[in-house]
Symmetry: C2
Subunit: 198 residues, 2 copies
DNA sequence: CCAGGTGTATTCCAATTTGGAACAAGTGCC
DNA sequence: GGCACTTGTTCCAAATTGGAATACACCTGG
């Protein structure tokens, strides 16, 4: 039987919660809104952007379990806002999670590829359009990731985010190239006449 | 005011529903269980594997809106099972979706990278371990995708799935290489002594 | 000075999606 | 005959998402 003075059974949190706590772990006091902006800035290159509503509810949960603390402050405009900061317990829990939690494999939902997979139901020109769009979007993302990388490089203590941003540049560049090659394969398929009709 | 003989307002379905309908669109009558297996086989390389429960509920919904039809048959073992097939309306709706629905950008949740991003909270050896694991898993996935590619190549009419499988091989190979480079960057960071402490 | 747009900040809700367990019945192995 | 495994299906609670709604402050133009 478990006795009472064991370390409190680790609270099991979804990855999203850790991502939010991770943002706080960079040390600033942030509002939910600002957490959202950080997520948009960096996280989005490798980890979807959670909905506002989810960020706010995660912050509340983090506070409930003692990993974050909030206080009400009034901004320059006099409006009250609630800022959150990570606690020591939160930092410890995050470290523990990093050290011990099993790592989920990357989850990918690739809309453009799903379309190609069902290519037999579509017009070849439409497929080209879908893949072209994806290629261009990937190129844009790579450029944006590179800006994020430069921004991270300018901040001391952001060596890891910089590394991740460098990875993100390469990732989205690879996506661009993969899309370009897919486009070639698509053209070749159509040219060869082996494309199943719709 | 809309009049009654317009084409029925397109039912708005989540992408998952289209993926399931897409599996049926390859023409076979399948049980929910078999749909699941197909998803495991191919879809997983570029589109998460939905939960069993979700597949069954999507099938029911597809039947409700008339995109799929089911009948009860008894298998070789005499047990009753419900098989689903796509209808003409379903095929038309899928084509229409392919042709007109806006394409969601790929959604990625990269657990391993999230860990690296929070590297300042972790032991460098642990980070190496996480990334190494990811690199090896990617290599495995690339090999498995290559098998799927060969399987698809053997079936006539599967030109598009084959194309997608080829893309998947390249994608997971790229992931493997990206992980390897990240590992190098990690080592370099630690060697340079610029790694923020935990 | 008031309307309207934009940025900050937060909350609420319905629908989606997930994970997991539970149930059931056949098959193959020892 | 017992046991594990595969096929096949259902149910439920929880997590997650998206979207809209609500404020208030600031700025711009008429």
């Amino acid at each position: 039987m478990a006795h009472a003075d064991e370390p409190p059974a680790e609270v099991r949190l979804p990855a999203t919660a850790w991502a939010v706590l991770g943002i706080l772990a960079f040390g600033e006091e942030l509002t939910g809104y600002e957490v959202r902006q950080w997520a948009e800035h960096i996280l989005r290159f490798f980890y979807w952007s959670p909905a506002m509503s989810q960020i706010y509810s995660e912050l509340k949960r983090l506070e409930q379990v003692g990993y974050a603390a909030s206080r009400e402050v009034s901004g320059e405009d006099g409006r009250p806002r609630r800022v959150y900061a990570i606690t020591d317990a939160g930092r410890a829990a995050a470290s523990d999670w990093l050290a011990h939690a099993p790592v989920e494999p990357p989850a990918l939902k690739h809309g453009p590829l799903l379309r190609v997979w069902l290519g037999h139901l579509a017009d070849p020109d439409r497929l080209r359009e879908v893949v072209t769009q994806h290629r261009d979007r990937s190129a844009d993302l790579a450029a944006e990731a590179d800006e994020a990388r430069r921004a991270a490089a300018a901040v001391s203590g952001w060596a890891y985010p910089e590394l991740v941003a460098r990875w993100a540049v390469r990732y989205h560049t690879a996506e661009r190239d993969l899309a370009a090659r897919l486009l070639d394969d698509l053209d070749e398929l159509v040219a060869s006449g082996r494309a199943p009709d719709l």
